[in-house]
Symmetry: C2
Subunit: 446 residues, 2 copies
């Protein structure tokens, strides 16, 4: 392609795919614009630690402008993509104050995925997702408020519903969330509420519709994961799915009704609906089929990476919606764009897969290193810990997260368990442009 100007690369999304694409392009002979609805990159693997009061929101989020403050060729725009015109090579971006259009020569679509409730509206209304940083804080507030609310009632059924946490989904997110909540219960909440709640236990139930946890893991690790979860105190229910959800009850396919006000939905994700703006056929999860070079079929200037991309490996299996795939695809898309600018041929995606890892709690994890070495327990947990510390964004965050983890490990402390609602004069749901209406209360703030 011949350019009369420096090639313009527009990246939608500052998740692992978009961020790693931008890193490849930093300092190169292209002008990059990153657009995201949030001003930060989220280190999503530790989101469950925000929900369980182990880490602060800011410890797993890194401002995009900060990451690229030394790269003169990278701009950032906080906003929401409203339309993609692939013919005119233009993206319409919306903010509270209007819309603007940004032209591109190459587009990298990396808007990720969102919680998928498979059409279960009851889950959408009464359940809690765990995909965004706001999700993590909202869930933390909700659980802590429920325990406070339990101190207000003497009704044993109400108390049970307020202190029971049901996690749906036996994948890594479900496991680590269930394990972390069980530890929060055992080591912090049960002690602090002893005077208020008496012997109301509080409990965590993990529900998985398959008859085993961690579907892509070998049976030995699946069993080890279950054993470790149960040794923590989590009740594991296999082979049952959720058929009904109300404000204070979850009913399973086997007929059992669990009184609970906290249903955490970790049972599925689907690609961002932004995929529909490309006007091409999508797969069942809403993903965009791409060529081996990660281009949209028929739209060679548009690359899609990460959870939004549908691509099969040599054995005909689609690449999973996991972070290492997103990172490596983001990098490849950026390199392929640089290759086109230089007149060189595109390269095909090859996944460098280091294996699988899931954590269950303090000293508990399972790991399948390079699909050869199977680790369980403390050794697997140390491997998981090291990997995440190394990959966490930003040195200060890494240091703080480390301090917090060592502290939590030694003491089971959960210092972050504050119920912090932002006055909520922040108006619209998930709108980064929402503005508070009145800032200083006319009423008392006691």
């Amino acid at each position: 392609m011949l350019h009369t100007h420096r090639p313009r690369v527009l990246i939608i999304g500052a998740g692992f795919g978009g961020l790693n694409a931008a890193r490849v392009l930093a300092g190169r002979e292209v002008d990059v614009l990153i657009v995201d609805r949030q001003n930060y990159h989220l280190f999503s693997p530790l989101l469950y630690q925000v929900a369980t009061a182990g880490l602060e929101p800011g410890e797993i989020a890194s401002p995009v402008r900060g990451i690229f403050h030394d790269a003169g060729n990278i701009r950032f725009l906080l906003g929401e993509v409203q339309a993609i015109d692939t013919a005119a090579r233009r993206v319409t971006i919306r903010s509270k104050h209007g819309a603007r259009q940004e032209a591109y020569d190459y587009l990298i679509v990396a808007a990720g995925s969102q919680t998928h409730t498979f059409g279960l509206d009851q889950v959408r209304v009464h359940g809690y997702g765990l995909k965004t940083l706001a999700d993590g804080v909202v869930l933390r507030n909700h659980v802590l408020k429920n325990f406070e609310r339990a101190a207000w009632t003497d009704d044993p059924l109400q108390r049970e519903a307020l202190t029971t946490i049901v996690v749906v989904g036996g994948g890594p997110t479900g496991l680590e969330t269930a394990g972390a909540f069980q530890e929060l219960l055992d080591h912090v909440l049960r002690k602090e509420y002893a005077g208020s709640l008496g012997d109301t236990p509080g409990r965590v139930i993990l529900v998985e519709r398959r008859d085993h946890l961690l579907p892509t893991y070998p049976p030995r690790l699946q069993r080890a994961a279950r054993r470790q979860l149960e040794s923590l105190g989590v009740e594991v229910v296999l082979g049952e799915s959720v058929v009904e959800v109300t404000e204070d009850c979850v009913r399973l396919s086997g007929g059992r009704a669990i009184p609970t006000r906290t249903l955490i939905w970790a049972a599925g994700v689907k690609a961002s609906p932004l995929a529909e703006m490309l006007g091409v056929p999508l797969d069942v999860s809403g993903r965009v089929p791409v060529t081996a070079a990660l281009q949209v079929i028929g739209l060679r200037d548009v690359y899609v990476v990460g959870d939004m991309a549908y691509l099969e490996d040599d054995r005909g299996q689609p690449y999973p919606m996991v972070i290492p795939v997103a990172k490596q695809q983001g990098e490849l898309a950026a390199r392929n764009i640089l290759r086109r600018v230089a007149g060189e041929p595109q390269r095909a995606f090859r996944y460098h897969d280091r294996g699988l890892m899931a954590t269950i709690g303090r000293s508990r994890a399972v790991a399948w290193i390079y699909y050869r070495l199977q680790l369980t327990g403390f050794v697997a947990w140390i491997a998981w810990l090291g990997l995440h510390l190394i990959t966490l964004m930003g040195f200060r965050n890494r240091l703080n997260v480390f301090v917090n983890w060592v502290w939590n490990y030694l003491t089971y402390d959960r210092s972050v368990r504050i119920i912090l609602e932002h006055s909520a004069r922040d108006a619209e749901p998930l709108d980064p442009w929402a503005e508070p209406r009145e800032h200083i209360p006319a009423r008392k703030t006691a």
Copy 2:
């Protein structure tokens, strides 16, 4: 007083007054109930660091239940006091789920103070206070969003309004807030927005209606404070007050109009309106006159401490609304209650005053130790730093805050500058019981 049961002490408020009262009563032969609208104690002297993205909210907040988890005689209730019946010795506490009454033998009222706009409704609507943890997060979000918004406009006047911060009030809070925002501008924002905003400077203006800063300090320190603020880059306007506030402009008494969307009101506080529930005459700041033993006049079972209490010293000067007074009064009220239970006489309040201290920025501060030694600059700053680290609640917090501070000092980093709005499905302003309505977005979350 003769008791047929263990004496019940009800403490309203978990600020410095209430917390220190409870500490004295922990493990003693009384039953204590602490009521607060938040589940945490706030280390308010560092709130400006949350607003300026230097610290996380959780680093300056400590859950009340966690502080007293070893004290079997202390209960906590999250709720809002609705009425105080001093005749029947009963307090009505409200939650989302109804109201309940709690009986007391002794009441300690320590609900603190709130931002006072002196009837200026424009300030209430367009200004930002800095008293609650939510205030700090809302202000941080607001300033960061304004810079993002400035990247959307080419109108120079709009840009100026979006990147200008006006702080009203020349007391310690105004000084440290202005200084910290100037440092955030100079060392982080200006660099990160260079590509988006060009040479739009961003600036901080401090307005004080008196003709000097820090009214209770000696003239030498007042001048040093001004000099240090100006050396940082803050514009200091003395002898002028705010006469008009709109969404994007502040007009001063001298006629000058400052385009700004960020007015921070640090010009006054008044006692919590909870004082009115006691049915006694209040002073002009809404404070409750108390005896030297801190009892409400005519209500000997009701003690009022901290910002809500009006008491004069030997020279006829009212004790200031500052933390050391609140702490010492909280302790004395608790000890006086224990003395009454033991049949011993009450003691009068004697303030152990270590002097005054205000910080202005990195390496900049003023201190008046025991009203003898006047320190300025780096030495005063080290004194301020040490004092706050020592008094911060909870060891983990102290360690983290220290890591953050050392890191900030060495790098001018501000890693916490994420715009995090809780989806705001949290409904009512400042209501600890507000519940989100729908948790998993039906729309995209890109």
